[in-house]
Symmetry: C2
Subunit: 270 residues, 2 copies
């Protein structure tokens, strides 16, 4: 199997995302090795040895995706025996011409605590945790968005992703049987913040499968119960004109991107 | 201000990460606009109008970072009046030559629920939540790693990041005054899993600031208390040879990358 290296003097997240997206266009498997924080020439030389060993062991030249702010260390990596992709740098000179401003690379500009929105993201994570699963009903005026839906429809991971990645304060509230009674009505605590509500739904099959992993053979996990709850929430979304998304076939990344696109909610971080 | 567009028929996460990393090399501000899930020609034409309006309003040609699996839609975007970066595609043909396999682009290959590790990530998030802040001491045998440290030293956001991004099951345990007594000893529940422990520490100034936002003027937030607790945990880490990291100047992304690099812990997802 061919190896792909992701190397940086920072987290190497950019190299990973770029390299992984590129390699995912090919119908074959790769071995992935990330080496972050290569900040000394000594470390860079060790990395070169590792690339060389991988080449010798597999017979295939490794693919090396790297970003380096330090020019000297970048030069060392650029001489690795792999196929080296200095994939950001090659765009820099043409972009300098376009925008008429010289680049000024500095370390740790992305994915760093020095980003001005970092504290906002951590505060949003704390908010999401404190307001997870209807555990706190009194801080909804602070919410950027309140995700609603039945238990296990994807609210919690989506709230956390919105917080961690975008600094968005997302509360989430589960509709339970107590809310349902004869028919599901919008609880008063949510009606006050109706403009912030965003619904999740999911197919009954998938909900049944997810709940069965938690509590096999329970009424909670049974198909009739799943169908009933989903019918109630979907009716409520339509009646109250609450925007909603069916999460069955989507990842948290996709659900979050769709919510942002549909609501126009402004992220705090890019 | 010049505008940067991030456009895709998927989440546009790859475009955002690439474009943001490139623009962060320049000492100027940009306006950022993400447009995900551009899956029809009609939508693509609307995007072109939006790019055109932005150009006319600002007088500066927008920067357009895009990835498109659908060739026809890609062509439409490639004719936008902005400066268009089809930044992945230009690497594809040379890479095909290198690896001797034709590319086979398919939609939603990255950041999708169809990634085989998706369920593992969601399970890891649920694990991190259930094992947050010492709330559950009986499932540590399932943990890939157990983060330890004083209250507010960064354990929870790091656990969640490790889970969401990498599918790593991270529990976290806060050392409290109850654990400290005269001197902090390793609680028996942790000693059984000593190989999984990873310590966090933080500067007393920063801990004092974070705790003061939570409980101003409390003993909990006071400098002497912060100093005492940090001295105890750092002594414990050294005595018990628990690897640890000072989180003061690092983001969750950086802390997580360093933990993976230092422990050799295998991520479940790339």
């Amino acid at each position: 199997m061919r190896t792909a290296f992701y190397i940086s003097d920072g987290t190497a997240i950019t190299s990973e995302v770029f390299g992984h997206a590129l390699l995912s266009l090919f119908p074959i498997e790769f071995e992935h090795i990330t080496i972050p924080f290569v900040e000394t020439e000594q470390h860079a030389l060790e990395v070169i040895s590792q690339i060389k060993s991988s080449f010798e062991a597999s017979g295939d030249r490794p693919l090396v995706f790297y970003t380096m702010v330090n020019v000297e260390i970048g030069k060392i990596i650029s001489n690795s025996p792999g196929i080296n992709y200095d994939f950001l740098n090659q765009f820099v000179a043409p972009l300098e011409k376009v925008i008429g401003v010289p680049s000024k690379p500095e370390k740790h500009r992305t994915h760093s605590i020095h980003e001005k929105t970092y504290d906002i993201r951590i505060e949003a994570v704390n908010y999401a945790l404190a307001n997870d699963d209807g555990s706190n009903l009194k801080d909804y005026q602070e919410a950027d968005i309140i995700l609603v839906g039945v238990s296990r429809s994807g609210k919690t991971p989506t709230s956390l992703y919105l917080a961690l990645q975008f600094g968005i304060k997302a509360a989430n509230y589960p509709f339970t049987e107590e809310d349902m009674g004869d028919i599901l009505k919008l609880p008063p605590v949510l009606r006050r913040f109706k403009d912030k509500l965003y619904g999740l739904t999911i197919s009954a099959d998938r909900l049944h499968a997810i709940r069965s992993e938690r509590r096999a053979n329970s009424r909670y996990a049974s198909m009739p119960q799943c169908r009933m709850e989903l019918r109630e929430v979907e009716n409520l979304y339509r009646k109250e004109k609450i925007p909603f998304i069916n999460s069955t076939k989507f990842s948290v990344e996709e659900i979050s991107a769709k919510i942002l696109a549909n609501t126009g909610l402004k992220r705090k971080k890019y």
